[in-house]
Structure formats: structure tokens, C-alpha cells
Amino acid sequence: MTVKPLNDERVEALIANLLRAGVVIAALVVIGGAVPYLAAHPRAHVTYRTFQGEPDELKAVHQIIPNAFSGDPRGIMQLGLLLLIATPIARVVFSAGAFAVEGDRMYVGFTLIVLAVLLYSLFGSFLIA
């Protein structure tokens, strides 16, 4: 088995495919929730004039996932949006791995700083809500 050298161009091409796959999967999940959502109450009145905030099951990561699997159409759409938000995070994880393989410790460090900020936003930001 021959392994191609992991040069920057190859890394970028892999990252691009990762991003595209993430967006496609996220969009399909969103559409998968949109169909039952639109079919359920197509004629219901809708307004977003006043901000009410989302219920807990559509806010926290650990609640969005079980809520989506329970079959709630809005929950499924929110899971799709969560997957979309996770796509760039996966890209950063992948970059950290690629820099590590290249032996570039400085950029592994930079990438981990970015990753820490992203993970804090997704999992830790409700701590100071």
C-alpha cells in the first residue's frame, strides 16, 4: 500500500469534501424535519414579531438529540442545524490532525485554541447564561 504524502493541497481537498458532505447531510436532515412540519399545520398562523426564545429541548445539545429521535419535526430540523454548526468544528479537528501528521507543533497549538473556543461556545456558553 502506498500512502500519498499529506501535503497542503491534499489536506485542503479532503477538508473541502468533508465540509460539503457535512452540509449535504445537514440539509437532508433539515428537509427530513421540514416535510412533516409543513404537513402537520400548513394553515396555522405564524409570526416571529416578538422574541420568546426556544424551549429547552431545542436549545441544549444534550436535549436536541433525544428530542429529534423522538420524532418531533421541529426537533429534527434543529438536529440538522446542529449538524451544520458541527461541520466547521469537524473541519478544525481534521486540521489539527493534519498539522500533527505534518509535525507542525506550532499550528497544532493554534488549531487547538480555535477548537477550544468552538467547543466552549457549543457546550459551555449556557454556564454564564
Binding site: V23, Y48, K59
Partner: protein
């Protein structure tokens, strides 16, 4: 409006925004919040949440097309993302503290600025300077394919570029936009990075920057799935369509028209902010 009508109209509006944004290179995100707040009477916080989600979708969705050209510089992008993500986190927290009227006024200023940047021609004095020691240490100098083979370039003024990126990130998190215009200014003007490399690297960074504020938005309840769904699908389809026809059309007139629309939306946002109409 009922659910079906609302979803369809928001989808159609987002499709046009995404299409024009990609075609003109100005980005669709910048017109989405005014579109949702002014025409669909959506609360500013829901509009910002939905817009930010669509920004991630277009950035990630179009990355494949950009990467093929071989212009983007991963190291520059990753280093500057430290500034943009920390800024985005700050911006997302500020949306809670800053009153809606002030956000609307800031939004208007950013819209006017984007239109101004897009109209300005770029006089570039490409005087050969010795490589910048900091940029060299950070391994930022790179190369890209040119008509005459491979062209090398050097990067300068890393600290000021980093600073502008922090501001770009804060605005992204505060307003739910990609702030691509400001990111390009930081790289192209301040850091003297070739324009093509700046735009493609900026597109790469937009998704990661937006993800940094999306987590905060999500936990604050700003992201409503029923509203974000048609926005995300519409912008994504529009921008993919836009990048496809991009090569075939003469975009100069369209660019001028679209930046005119952005100016009008910017003035309207400022007016609404000043009169408390949002």
C-alpha cells in the same frame, strides 16, 4: 400569514439573496437580516440566528469550489481564526446586552461600509519588500497558481491584521453575518496578501467564525428551526446556483445594482434603529 405561505416566501427571498450574494461576491448574509426584519417583521434576534446558520451553510458549501483553485492558505486562515472566533464569542454575548436599536444602527453602518468597499477600486503598490520576520516565523508566506506558473507571496503586518480580524469576528457574532468584506480588507489591505488568496481564505474562515457564535445563539434560544429552515435551504440553493453562473455572466452592472440595494437597506436599518421601529 400561515405556515406554508411564510415558509415559501422566506425561502424564495433567501434564494434570491443567496444567488445575488454569490454572483456579486458580496455574500448573501448581509441582506438577510434586513430582509427578515423589514419585510417579514421577524424579531431581530430570530433574524440574526437564522442568518448566522445560513452563513455557515454557504461558507462550507462553497469551500469545495474554492479549494479546487488552490488559492486558500490554511495556515493564515487558522492563525487568524484565533482572533475571529474569540471576537465572535464576544459579539454573541454582546447581542444579549446591546439594545436592538443600537444593533440596527451598527448593522446599517456595516451595510454602508460593505457597499463602499465593493465599489472601491484597489490600487495596489506591489513594491518588493523583504519578508516580515513574524510572518516568516508563523510560516504564512505562500504561493498560488498564476497564468505564468506559480507565484510566491509574502505576508506583512500580522498584528494589525489580527486586530482587524478580531473586530470582524465581533461584528459577525453581534450581527449574524459572515463579515467577509472586513476579513478581506484585513488580509488584502493590511497584510498585503494577494486578493484571490484573501477572498478564498476569508470564505474558509467565515464558517468557523460563525460556528463560534452559533453555539451561544443556540443556547440562548435565538435559532428557531421553523424560521432557519427556509432561510438555510434558500440561501444554500441560491449561492450554489450563483457560483455556477458566475463564470458566464457580466457581473459589473449587477454588482452596482446589488450594492445600491445594500445602501438602501443600510439606511432603512439605521432609520429603524433611530426611530425604535425594530
Amino acid at each position: 400569514m400561515n405556515v406554508l405561505e411564510f415558509t415559501f416566501l422566506v425561502w424564495a427571498g433567501s434564494l434570491v439573496a443567496g444567488f445575488l450574494g454569490a454572483l456579486t461576491g458580496l455574500g448573501g448574509g448581509v441582506v438577510l437580516v434586513p430582509l427578515l426584519t423589514i419585510f417579514f417583521h421577524v424579531d431581530l434576534r430570530y433574524a440574526i440566528g437564522a442568518s448566522l446558520v445560513s452563513v455557515i451553510a454557504t461558507s462550507s458549501g462553497s469551500a469545495a469550489a474554492y479549494v479546487k483553485e488552490g488559492f486558500s492558505n490554511i495556515r493564515i486562515g487558522m492563525f487568524l481564526e484565533i482572533a475571529t472566533t474569540i471576537g465572535a464569542l464576544l459579539g454573541a454575548y454582546l447581542t444579549v446586552k446591546v439594545p436592538a436599536s443600537a444593533i440596527a444602527i451598527i448593522f446599517g453602518i456595516v451595510l454602508l461600509y460593505s457597499a463602499y468597499v465593493s465599489r472601491r477600486t484597489r490600487p495596489r503598490t506591489s513594491v518588493e519588500q523583504p519578508p516580515d520576520p513574524l510572518a516568516t516565523k508563523l510560516k504564512m508566506n505562500g504561493s498560488f497558481p498564476d497564468t505564468s506558473g506559480v507565484r510566491q507571496y509574502n505576508v506583512y503586518n500580522v498584528p494589525s491584521g489580527f486586530g482587524v480580524m478580531f473586530i470582524a469576528g465581533t461584528l459577525s457574532g453581534l450581527l449574524g453575518i459572515g463579515s467577509g468584506a472586513l476579513k478581506v480588507v484585513a488580509m488584502d489591505q493590511a497584510m498585503k496578501i494577494p486578493f484571490k488568496v484573501s477572498t478564498t481564505t476569508s470564505n474558509f474562515m467565515i464558517g468557523v467564525t460563525a460556528a463560534a457564535s452559533a453555539g451561544v445563539y443556540l443556547s440562548r434560544g435565538y435559532i428557531d428551526p421553523s424560521l432557519a429552515m427556509p432561510v438555510m435551504i434558500g440561501v444554500l440553493m441560491g449561492s450554489l446556483l450563483g457560483t455556477r453562473v458566475l463564470v458566464k455572466t457580466q457581473t459589473k452592472l449587477l454588482r452596482q445594482v446589488f450594492s445600491g440595494v445594500i445602501v438602501l437597506l443600510g439606511l432603512e436599518m439605521m432609520f429603524k434603529g433611530l426611530t425604535g421601529g425594530l
